[in-house]
Amino acid sequence: MSNTELSSGRAVVAADDFDRRNLDWYVDKAVQVLVFICGISAVIFIIGIFTFITKEGYAFILQMDWVEIFTTQYWFPSDEEDPEFGILALIAGTASVTGLAMAVAIPFSLGGAIFVAEFASGKTREVLKVLVELLAAIPSVVWGFIGLSIMNPLIIETFDVPVGLNVLNAGIILGLMAAPIMTSIAEDALKAVPDRYREAAEAMGATRWQVIVRVVLPAARNGLLGAVLLGVGRGFGETMAVLMATGHSVNIPGSLFDSVRALTATIAAELGETAVGSEHYQALFAIGIFLFIITFIINLSADLIVRGVREG
């Protein structure tokens, strides 16, 4: 509902001369205050998340040499004499897995979205949409279990490698996880292109495919880019599946068959064994701050890009 309509409604109430301050009036005002407080809760929680993880992790950030942390690959946080906190290998692990996942997911989800939005019709379309939605509902721990118990032996057998928990495994799992979400966002973006664009092009004698390539895709470009970005954010922040399918060993991967460890998985695996307030504990929260900032930037740019298309 547009807000001009709402505020005109308010103006009508303000304009009449009766004194309306009976019980209903007070209830109305009280509710207004209450829903306002609940309304800003999302903002409060976002600020709260940042505040509380910073509160636990800031001491580490202040005392550490950041160049060293981002450029060394030695992660030995619990070494008693000389703990090392290099996260380069963890970043490489997250990047390699997310990169492969996107290489898998982007073509399939965009192809899937085009098929569902532009080619499929009627029942087929409905069924496909429901299937994609159900796909998106599978919990990440179940995906991790699939990586562990189905993909792992499959990779060992197919490629004749000693370990099947590696970049390839986690990348495929993560790609399958991200694809349905990207498909449905991309499909929304395609559906947002007004039908009159398609009709105009078809009236000029264009085939369905020409309409898609020349008219629909350019018009939906920003929305599709937003879908890809949200997929990247999703893959980047995924925890349980990555923890279970990467092999979880600190490594800068040289091939698809190397085991790696991701930033998110490191927190999940180690937080339970650290003492509250210890350097290791603070380091994990510092990684959390890093993850928060990166995903914040990804989500913000996805939002700006998608909004750009609506205003343009």
Binding site: V35, V132, L230, M240, T295
Partner: protein, 289 residues
């Protein structure tokens, strides 16, 4: 006059080709899941029995059932719902019915998007820092459910806002013209017309929350406890964490057991999700305006 030229024929061929290609891609997108579901049912189906569902794990979690984890998940999800549904619905009412178009509303919308996008492990860190330590709830159902509630809040807000905005403005105007206050209008006209849409969103939230693992690992769910939770201040087992534990942390678990746990978990999640989808379709089919 309307004979197909070589160009027309070529265009038609290209179109058929791409249609086939994209159809194939869509199929490949869905195929793995069908294989996976089939494998889970095949391997896990044998494990599931009355005893599996209704007894505790025994022999260091290498045998026995999943009862405490099932009950624990119900506790966690229920408490998370009690917290997030009223908060989310009220927030959606504000956004749909009151919010002016200003920087604050934009900030709220941005916060909702980000709340949905923050990695689940960061939500877990927040839960530890805020609910477990700062508010001193300890590792308990309360702390874990609060963490889940914050995480699920965007789902409730977005679903509710959509169904509130689907109620035509004319309904509200008719009510205002009768002299009703804004709240009376919302309570008597807008909410009754939107309640089923809200319910769809709530079921979806149940499905999401059931499967979450990372946010509850350090805030309230534990690997093993022989006791069923008695209050929100107890720790508990949970289905999602139990799947992680039996498939990675415990040596000597029979190969089939984790399949059984995964099958029960995925059955819970997909049932809820299908329910939500079916409900939504039913609503759409009997829409009155």
């Amino acid at each position: 006059m309307f004979e197909a030229t070589a160009l027309n024929a070529r265009n038609a061929r290209i179109q058929t080709l791409f249609r086939l290609l994209f159809g194939l891609m869509t199929g490949l997108l869905i195929l793995p899941v069908i294989i996976i579901l089939f494998t889970l049912i095949q391997e896990g189906g044998a494990v599931i029995s009355y005893d599996f569902l209704f007894t505790s794990p025994t022999d260091g979690m290498t045998a026995g059932g999943i009862f405490p984890a099932l009950i624990g998940t119900i506790w966690l999800v229920a408490v998370a719902l009690i917290i997030s549904v009223p908060l989310g619905v009220a927030a959606a009412i504000y956004l749909s019915e009151y919010a002016p178009e200003n920087w604050l509303t934009r900030a709220i919308n941005l916060a909702i998007i980000n709340l949905a996008g923050v990695p689940s492990i960061v939500h877990a860190l927040f839960g530890v820092g805020a609910f477990v330590l700062f508010f001193n709830f300890g590792t308990s159902i309360l702390a874990a459910s609060l963490t889940l509630a914050v995480m699920a809040l965007p789902v409730v807000i977005v679903a509710t806002r959509e169904s509130l905005q689907a109620v035509p403005l004319a309904f509200r105007e008719a009510c205002w013209n009768m002299g009703a206050t804004r709240w009376q209008t919302i309570r008597r006209v807008v909410l009754p017309n939107a309640v089923s849409g809200i319910l769809t969103g709530v079921i979806l939230e149940v499905s999401r929350t059931t499967g979450e693992t990372a946010p509850i690992m350090f805030t309230g769910a534990v690997f093993f406890t022989p006791f069923l939770p008695q209050s929100v201040f107890d720790q508990t087992m949970a289905m999602s964490l139990h799947l992680f534990v039996v498939s990675t942390q415990v040596p000597g678990v029979p190969e089939q057991l984790p399949y059984g746990v995964a099958l029960v978990l995925i059955a819970m999640v997909l049932t809820m999700n299908s329910l939500s989808i079916a409900f939504r379709m039913y609503l759409r089919s009997r829409k009155k305006w």
